[in-house]
Amino acid sequence: MSDIQIDMDGLLDTFFEEAEEHLAAFENGLLELEDNPGNRDVVARIFRAAHSIKGASGTFGLTDVTRFTHALETVLDRVRSGDLAYSRELAQVFLPSVDVLRALMRAAREGSAAPAEAASIRVELEKFFVGSASAAPHADAKAAAPVSASREVRVHFVPKLEFMSRGMDPLAMVRDLADVGEIVSREIDASKVPELSCLDPEQMHLSFWIGLKTEKTDKEIAEVFAFVDDLCTFEIVAKVEAAPVVVKEAAPEVHEHAPAEKTAAAAADHGGGAKAAAPAATIRVSTDKVDKLLDLVSEIVIAQAMIVDASRASGQDAETRLNEALGSLDRHTRELQERVMSIRMVPLASVFGRLPRMVRDLAATVGKKVRLVVEGETTEIDKSMVEQLSDPLTHLVRNAVDHGLEFPEDRIKKGKPEEGVVRIRAFHQGGNVIIEVSDDGKGLDTAVIRAKAERLGIVTPDAVLTNDQIHDFIFSAGFSTAAKVTDVSGRGVGMDVVKRNVEALKGSLSLSTELGTGTAMRLRLPLTLAIVDGLAVRVGAQTFVVPLLSVLESFRPGPSQVRGVLGSGEVIDMRGTSVPIVRLHELMNEPNAERDPSRALLCIVEANGQSLALLVDDVIGQAQFVVKSLEVNYRKVPSLMGATILGDGRVAMIVDVQSLARHTGRGADASFSASEAA
């Protein structure tokens, strides 16, 4: 029976991954409980998290983890059932438990010893158990092995009418009896079976007499009926008065525990074995993405078949067919490449995950009141960037809390709410991910920065500088204007290091600030892959893509709706406002476009609160387009967000609505300044 080997080692990686997720849920739940101790949903959630870790870890014999999570679970069960309130006291024990649990899992993974705190925290947790007895999972003593010689018994098995209602096959009982001994006789009592006409096939009318030659005890024979002891009656009748049978009554029914102890002991050796090597990096992928990949692979197989087919064709359209087939293959393989790349995209939530806890701890340490708001955590970036982003982001947030926000008393004096807000906002823009870390604190004092820069010799007193240029000095080495806050491991941190880290990711860091109001740091990171939902429009012979997010509506204007405004081009009057018109054909130098708006279409777009009307010949349709950055091989082109490759292989430009909006109204000549092109 046990010659079946399951590769438990291979499953360990999955266990650790899953456990990490549960742990994160546990931690976040605890933080939520801080603000909202009565929330029963949250309690249920963290109970489930601890419970899941416990269950799975037990399977792998990671006893340290199991024991610890068992303690957590026991206390949480009391909180869940209302027996125990989630008090300040309890929180003091639970929060460190998260770190302990993490350390325990790390120890399990590496095969090193459990951290010392594990035992002491567990003792703290046990203080919250009911009574003093800890309900730790202990295998009860195995039922003492009875001494009995072989004997013969008769088992009278009488199922109740509703025996089969739970899916148990009555013959399974007979089969199991054959496992505990040798069946020497069988009798079926069919006397209770009613007439066929009133027979309910779902009811059990048969009963059995099974003669069994066995060395097992009555108790062991009775175990056969363990699952159905409420659905039948059974008697074990000794057939012959055989040699004295000594059956020790063991501890209360621990049928399921006994095997567990044996296997737990065996597993403990297995679990204790060194797991020194770092686990292979893995990615969890949604089945949706995988399904789409499989679809693509099928398409490629078809395209390949088409090519083989076309290559055999002859005659006039042989070449056309071959070209079509090759084109199809080209498209699909390209899409395959892009989709596989998109598998590497993970939501920023994984980077933001640790921030709430860190902010809470830091705020407490420095004595400030802080609320962290996170927006856009579903924004995706390449997995490889996640590791490197964590540090700079953490430093920016710490800076905001430590240097940006004022102390509660000072905030009140300024008429601000006592609680400062640090806001993290992430979104896609063009071919980039933007992460903004802003605070509503005291802002940067330009004069102070300037003075310090002069003192440090970075700039001469007579140099003429814009405020932005002065603010950039804070990224100079050694600049920090306040005592550095040491991070968890005790290192000091400077903004220059942050900027360097960001630039190593091929990104950029900029800031805007207002004295007294707050500061915003802007991280711009390139995307390896961006997909934009777009509206394809035709201008002359060219196709352009307008990001759908910006599009409000499209329509053909009446001739009287369009009018020229002296000095600033044309506008369209709609619903009481005049919206400036952008002639895309002029911007893009397309000579064959429709110039008469009343014979073309106006595509109304919006960016930064401003509306524009783009003049296009026609709207082709909506689709998803992969954004190819022009900066990879060329450079950023003003008014364009990037390029995309259409289904027929042509390159089409994706319009940057924001850039257009910024430059409309500055004169009919929509020329772009050098800084725009940088």
Partner: protein, 158 residues
């Protein structure tokens, strides 16, 4: 779909040049930088760019800029002909295509045959030229590829 002619990179590339013609003049660039040669294919124009930057093309899924070599060197442009091709260069991780009238040959020059800092009489931007080589009966202008590309693509100027 483009027909591509791959460059044979097996032989010793150092000192080997790919020569091409612009009108009656012959130019050459180091073979090391040459990725492939393509026949003329659809180019999508880019707005707000100098006229010799023709636009971009789709090179197996990558968006690659296409520049008129004539314009890049400051020469007058000519309409494309039967032999007009695009030389695709790979410089510092960037892929850029240059349109030339036709491609001639792969040539090897010994250091002694190359005259550095020649007098070009102002026809071509001297900063883009790395020397002039003499072969048999004609002169070949050797171009500094990095500088030629760097003139239009930022961050590459040596």
């Amino acid at each position: 779909m483009n027909t591509a002619h791959a460059i044979n990179t097996k032989t010793n590339e150092h000192g080997q040049y790919l020569s091409f013609a612009l009108g009656t003049d012959e130019y050459a660039i180091k073979i090391l930088r040459v990725q492939e040669i393509l026949s003329i294919c659809p180019i999508t124009a880019l707005p707000q760019t100098p006229p010799h930057v023709r636009g971009v093309m789709n090179l197996r899924g990558a968006v690659v800029p296409v520049i008129d070599m004539r314009g890049a060197l400051g020469l007058a442009t000519e309409p494309y002909g039967k032999f007009t091709v695009i030389i695709v260069l790979s410089v510092r991780g960037r892929t850029v295509g240059f349109v030339v009238d036709s491609v001639s040959d792969v040539l090897s020059f010994e250091e002694g045959a190359i005259e550095r800092s020649p007098d070009l009489g102002g026809r071509v931007d001297a900063s883009l030229v790395s020397g002039i080589a003499r072969t048999q009966d004609r002169f070949v202008v050797l171009l500094d590829t990095d500088r030629v590309v760097g003139a239009d693509v930022p961050g590459l100027a040596a």
